[in-house]
Symmetry: C2
Amino acid sequence: MSKELTSRAEDYSQWYNDLVIKGELADYSAVRGCMVIKPYGFALWENMRDQLDRMFKDTGHQNAYFPLFVPKSLFEAEEKNAEGFAKECAVVTHYRLKGDPGKKGKLIVDPEAKLEEELVIRPTSEAIIWNTYKGWIQSYRDLPLLINQWANVVRWEMRTRLFLRTAEFLWQEGHTAHATKEEAVEETVKMLNVYADFVEEWMAVPVIKGVKTANERFAGAEDTYCIEALMQDGKALQAGTSHFLGQNFAKAFDVKFSDKNNALDYVWATSWGVSTRLIGALIMAHSDDQGLILPPKIAPVQVVIVPIYKGEESKGPIDAKANEIIASLKALGIRVKYDNSDNSRPGWKFAQYELQGVPVRLAMGLRDMENKVVELARRDTKEKSSMPIEGLAETVAKLLNEIQQNMYNKALAFRNENITTVDSWDEFVKTLDEKGGFVSAHWDGTPETEEKIKEQTKATIRCIPLDNKQEEGKCVLTGNSSTQRVLFARAY
Amino acid sequence: MSKELTSRAEDYSQWYNDLVIKGELADYSAVRGCMVIKPYGFALWENMRDQLDRMFKDTGHQNAYFPLFVPKSLFEAEEKNAEGFAKECAVVTHYRLKGDPGKKGKLIVDPEAKLEEELVIRPTSEAIIWNTYKGWIQSYRDLPLLINQWANVVRWEMRTRLFLRTAEFLWQEGHTAHATKEEAVEETVKMLNVYADFVEEWMAVPVIKGVKTANERFAGAEDTYCIEALMQDGKALQAGTSHFLGQNFAKAFDVKFSDKNNALDYVWATSWGVSTRLIGALIMAHSDDQGLILPPKIAPVQVVIVPIYKGEESKGPIDAKANEIIASLKALGIRVKYDNSDNSRPGWKFAQYELQGVPVRLAMGLRDMENKVVELARRDTKEKSSMPIEGLAETVAKLLNEIQQNMYNKALAFRNENITTVDSWDEFVKTLDEKGGFVSAHWDGTPETEEKIKEQTKATIRCIPLDNKQEEGKCVLTGNSSTQRVLFARAY
């Protein structure tokens, strides 16, 4: 290996950081809790973002852009939402710097440039958006309003981790307005399904769709729907949420509409979001001790070609043949990189692209060319084979689909093996400690019990699965009666 | 007209605001100086952004993302840059809110959550990026580094105008690092040319490429290249800048590289950016008293089809024929909207799409259908004609190109008529006051004279055109000798 990686068994958390940093996805920055997304990581995000954006547009949504700042008086208007985010708010209090009279070349905040009203940097944009919607919505004809925004948000977290939890992160937030409760609930579920389809089909990560308990609900929502994924260390990760907001924000910002009969009512709302956190889920769902494993559909580079030169005179013919292959791959829409740089040896390159999770690697020397073959290595299974150059592009295109499917199947099998049904407290604790994964157990439905379980085991209720089977049972902690099982897990 | 617009002659500035707001491009927000970009305006920005992004990638650049925040100590490292932006900096000083003990449900900034070091919200990202590059660049092998970022930035302006000057705006900023001065200068000019090509070919706005004088240079740059456009009111608008930063930031952040001979040197830098301000330029270069006129290449909707129903029974056949036409337009990649909503009458729709600058409008009633024609209206010339449905998609595709070219030609003719060569102070002042536009005049090359001219006339030197003719002359203000003419104008 060119770069030493920590193994998962040795230190899972260090393994994760190694993959992010040595895989060149992201880097720490000089700002506490904020990261730099490097070009390779950003190209991955662009592929994810572009596909999500297509799916949002296909379901009738439009993009817009709202201010980064939320005046404090607007921020506090919806009380539950404000209370939920107050502890994490970065606040702008001044709008000017000036020269430090004591130290030449240094600056201080100008005390005379204090804002009359402080500005919160958006941790989420319901407040500023609903304050704007007030001016846009008068009648049922203005509804539904189906708007999405791609933006940066800031939540001042004390413990941060690259991609998983950073003070600033990139995300999208959909904010829709509807004339009826039914339509808003339908929208909430529709977008949950868009997220589930995206994460499963594009990221090859299986998810469980469900509803959060009151304890885990988004601050200001009536109901929070979520998709939950399972990481290789047995911890769950919330991959996306879609909130039915009822009329809470409409009431806080006085947004009413007149219906066809000229009756006034408050507007119904949803909001939904996924973020760069998805990249953390992607890494932990698929990768191994040699590095990242990226699903072909979103990999920045799907195929890398490494020439094996033996002496200067082999360069010309190999480069020429490689360019033919590249053209045939590109003609099928495959993202291909040719690495004929002489800065490093083939072995170093092999290790680097393995670390960076490129799905397919092709290597070709003079001997291969004479035999009209290339060496093909797939990243997911590490299988190597000799492949005829004739028809190679079609072979690779097929293989990329196969890799995508194989990654999903593997992750699905792992996830399914790690949903354990338990009926006693001992089993519950033992499963969490020894096996991990999702634990399907009866719960008496009270926030108090949920809280106690969390205190004793660090496990939370990840969700009440949609279309959950109703069955009589006894709560795993209290023994009180229960009508359904819910999914517990320790989580990111 | 469905919505009353102010005419240009009446009040140019109000006309501009009417177009932005009634054309549904943007709206004021609750935050001082910040705007909301509405879906129609954002779709326009997306078309501009996507094309620029392709051009950046085609010239070898990659996207990345750097933090919103710049710690004050980093911000002040490059002194000229810091000095240039200090007066416009929004500053985060606290990271938490808490309940107001005096007022239930209200929040205050928690005085115990004061940051040890204040964070500046990026007005531009050289500081945070060059601090990061320090960790990425060791050897000539790491160069060039060709990175771009799409981001929001904040400059606390006292007088704001929608799109043209807002406290927060969206932009892209390229930040590149090079081993030699020559290569950095070449990059600076290359990106200036990318901007010029984009603005001319996609926005249909002719520009003059030039170099700024020292007075007008970007804070921290050795040279600022710019493209300057002319608005219909005779004022100039800086549409994009590309900076050769020399080794200033490399020195401020101690970024050195070892060359092939293992000698250490500071890295050479460029930065370049365009912003949502371009939308302001677009509006003022082309639009008229009836509303926006958008160039087809970036118009969110290129063709709108309005059905003219006479009674319910005409709906079915007209919708069916319209859907055929839509399919044929879409097959040619044309962005088309069918407005068969019954919320408003055809006349109201015509006025609305005229206001919103849709390049081509098709209207069709039963009679038209029987005659196998549609009524076609082009927005730029307001010409109307009857067009056969047979071959309509091809006709429209050709027409869209023609409109794009016609808009450019018209703007170019206007711009060229409004470059006036003057040789005396009287002429200079008279031209500015009575005609406006660019004034080509001799200047003695001193910042003092430039400053005096600005004080007396509000005109600034927009640029020294690239490949400027060298000729002897006398400064229009001082009579001192001069070797070339420069372009003056009043500007946005």
